[in-house]
């Protein structure tokens, strides 16, 4: 399941509370102001504004073609925005060529120079800055130590494994100590185990170096693992921005709820409100109640987003259940090891997903295919979505 890592879980005793975006006295390091980018008739980014703060690990998340990579390339200087400004540390970047920008990028393809050794690749940016030779050697050694590649200085990129190449690319992008490190799908080419390990290393590195990282990814687990804040993008716009917990637990729209993790979306109509939340009516054979602070009037069409792990699956009807309880038949089980996902088909044809942690190795009364089961959830479990 999704591991939403907050700062509390961060390694190396990082600050427990890190939320510069909540501090009105701070000004952002990067500021996109009304940025629009059009390629011919196609609008890749539509009037987007975004503020990123120093030392943040910021993720742009979205499906391919949502404009996230274009936004990063605008910051790197490879694309010129059609409209709007990009300000970095108080300096307007529009018109500044990529080779004069204090940002460095780790490319998805790594883009290592094939004719240069690992040392020369990492030293490339430093040489452009006319750094003295002995300082370059010291910095390259430091970088290679940081990414655990000591001793491979003289290898050529084609003599390295995929994981090693990824580290060289990272070391090369970090070597100039940029104000912002841009990571374009940095882990997409690695296998799952290596990816997870590298995610942790990236987080550690970012805290250790005290740098601002901006990552572009289509992998929601990756974004949630590494980032302080995530901007979920769709069709060139940011549909929601927040911490991983906020995005997961309080999705703003049906799109976000569906894109981040697994969800059951129940379309419903508000019928009333009392002190325990709103009452809703839908084609589910049960009265619905959801706790929400959202201002929804009676008669409004909304959706209830219900995460599978918040749905309780039982063989017998829970005694106290008078609402938020449906009956169905198990039509599919996905055993994931730590969790099992049950697909339960209701009488009205709706397929519900419910997750149950496998806390014991052997269960006395396992729920299996074709079993009649009851699904129930608390009013607090569902999120009312108006968009």
């Amino acid at each position: 399941m999704n591991v939403a890592l907050d700062r509390e879980m961060r390694p190396n005793g990082a600050p427990r509370e890190f939320a510069p975006w909540k501090d009105p006295s701070l000004s952002p390091l990067i500021h996109f102001e009304g940025v629009t980018k059009r390629f011919g008739d196609v609008t890749a980014i539509a009037d987007l504004s975004l503020a990123i703060y120093e030392r943040e690990f910021f993720a742009l998340l979205g499906p391919s073609g949502c404009g996230k990579t274009t936004l990063m390339r605008v910051l790197a200087g490879f694309e010129t925005p059609t409209e709007g400004r990009v300000v970095l540390a108080g300096e307007d970047l529009v018109g500044v060529p990529p080779y004069r920008r204090p940002v460095n990028m780790m490319f998805q393809s790594y883009a290592l120079f094939p004719h240069m050794s690992v040392f020369d690749n990492v030293a490339f940016g430093l040489r452009q800055d006319k750094m003295p030779k002995d300082e370059i050697a010291a910095r390259v050694a430091e970088m290679l130590k940081l990414v655990n590649l000591k001793g491979l200085e003289r290898r050529k990129p084609d003599q390295l494994s995929g994981g090693q190449r990824q580290r060289v690319a990272l070391a090369r992008a970090l070597a100039k100590r940029p104000k912002v490190l841009l990571l374009d799908e940095p882990l997409a080419a690695l296998d799952k185990k290596l990816r997870e390990q590298t995610q942790f290393e990236l987080m550690e590195l970012q805290v250790k170096l005290g740098m601002t990282f901006m990552i572009v990814t289509h992998d929601q687990e990756e974004a949630m693992s590494v980032a302080d804040r995530i901007a979920v993008m769709d069709h060139g716009r940011i549909v929601q921005m927040g911490t991983p917990t906020e995005i997961y637990e309080q999705p703003a729209t049906r799109y976000v709820a569906d894109f981040i993790g697994d969800v059951n979306l129940i379309e419903a109509k508000v019928t009333g409100r009392d002190e325990k939340g709103v009452l809703l009516q839908s084609d589910m054979p049960t009265p619905l109640r959801a706790a929400t602070e959202a201002d929804v009037a009676a008669g409004a069409a909304v959706a209830i987003a219900l995460r599978p792990e918040k749905v309780k699956i039982t063989a017998r009807k829970p005694a106290e259940a008078t609402e938020n309880c449906v009956r169905g038949v198990v039509t599919g089980i996905a055993y994931l090891g730590d969790f099992s996902i049950y697909r339960v088909t209701l009488e009205n044809g709706f397929v519900f997903k419910a997750a149950r942690p496998n806390v014991t190795r052997v269960t006395d009364q396992p729920i299996t295919w074709d079993d009649k089961v009851f699904l129930s959830w608390t009013p607090e479990a569902g999120v009312v979505l108006t968009r």
Partner: protein, 304 residues
Amino acid sequence: MASNERGLGGRALIVLVPYLWLASFFLIPFLIVLKISLSDDVLAQPPYAPVLDLSKGWEGIREFVAVLDLENYAFVLGDPLYLYSYLQSVSIAALSTAILMLIGYPIAYAMARAPLSLRPILIMLVILPFWTSFLIRVYAWMGILAREGLLNQVLVGLGIVSEPVEILATNSAVVLGIVYSYLPFMVLPLYAALDRLDDSLLEAAADLGASPWKSFWLVTFPLSLPGLVAGALLCFIPAVGEFVIPDLLGGSDTLMIGRTLWTEFFSNRSWSIASVIAVLLLIMLVVPMVLYQNIQARSLEVGR
């Protein structure tokens, strides 16, 4: 086991084909030329001796080998005329290759940077001259470069020169002819190398602080070197032995080795001296070939 052996046999057969080809169309003719170069000229048919007579058996072979000697080599190497021919061939070929690189690189670079939709047309334009006979194109240059030719008419007409310039029948005309004829052989391998270049490498160089000019010298140029070397050798090697262009565009003092060889063979009827020239030329060209192979092998290692 049996199928494995059959598979091996099939593979051996496939490997054998190019070797058979090389043996019958390169090695055997070369051995014949080598043998003639070690023989003596005679007024006979064929115009050299000895001729191998297998009917005498071992005795015949021994007699045959005993008569072969290196005196023709001593003659060719001792006469400054031939040395001069070789030197002039190499210097004209080298100058032409240098000019070809200077002209070919920008053309190939512009082609590789052109919009994708335009590239097939550009490649077409580079190859198009091949559709006309090589000989006719060189003859056309004679018409352009002649004393009363197109070029002089334009130059005089525009008042750039008062008297027609002597271009035809000079070494400059030969260099011009070689550069014109060989340009596609320089452009195409260079284009292939530049086209393969990953754009993200240039973006990475820019991202790390290299200006476009530095990116070119640090990334584009070194990565296009295999193409440049291939193009240079594809032009230099045949240019050294070029016969038609110096014969048609060159003057009487343009002594390129191909022409000298032709004179020995057809005018002097000295097959043995012509063969010596051919063998020495081959040895001269094998050196850059081996160099090229080394660079190819190295670039393969890098490109992998």
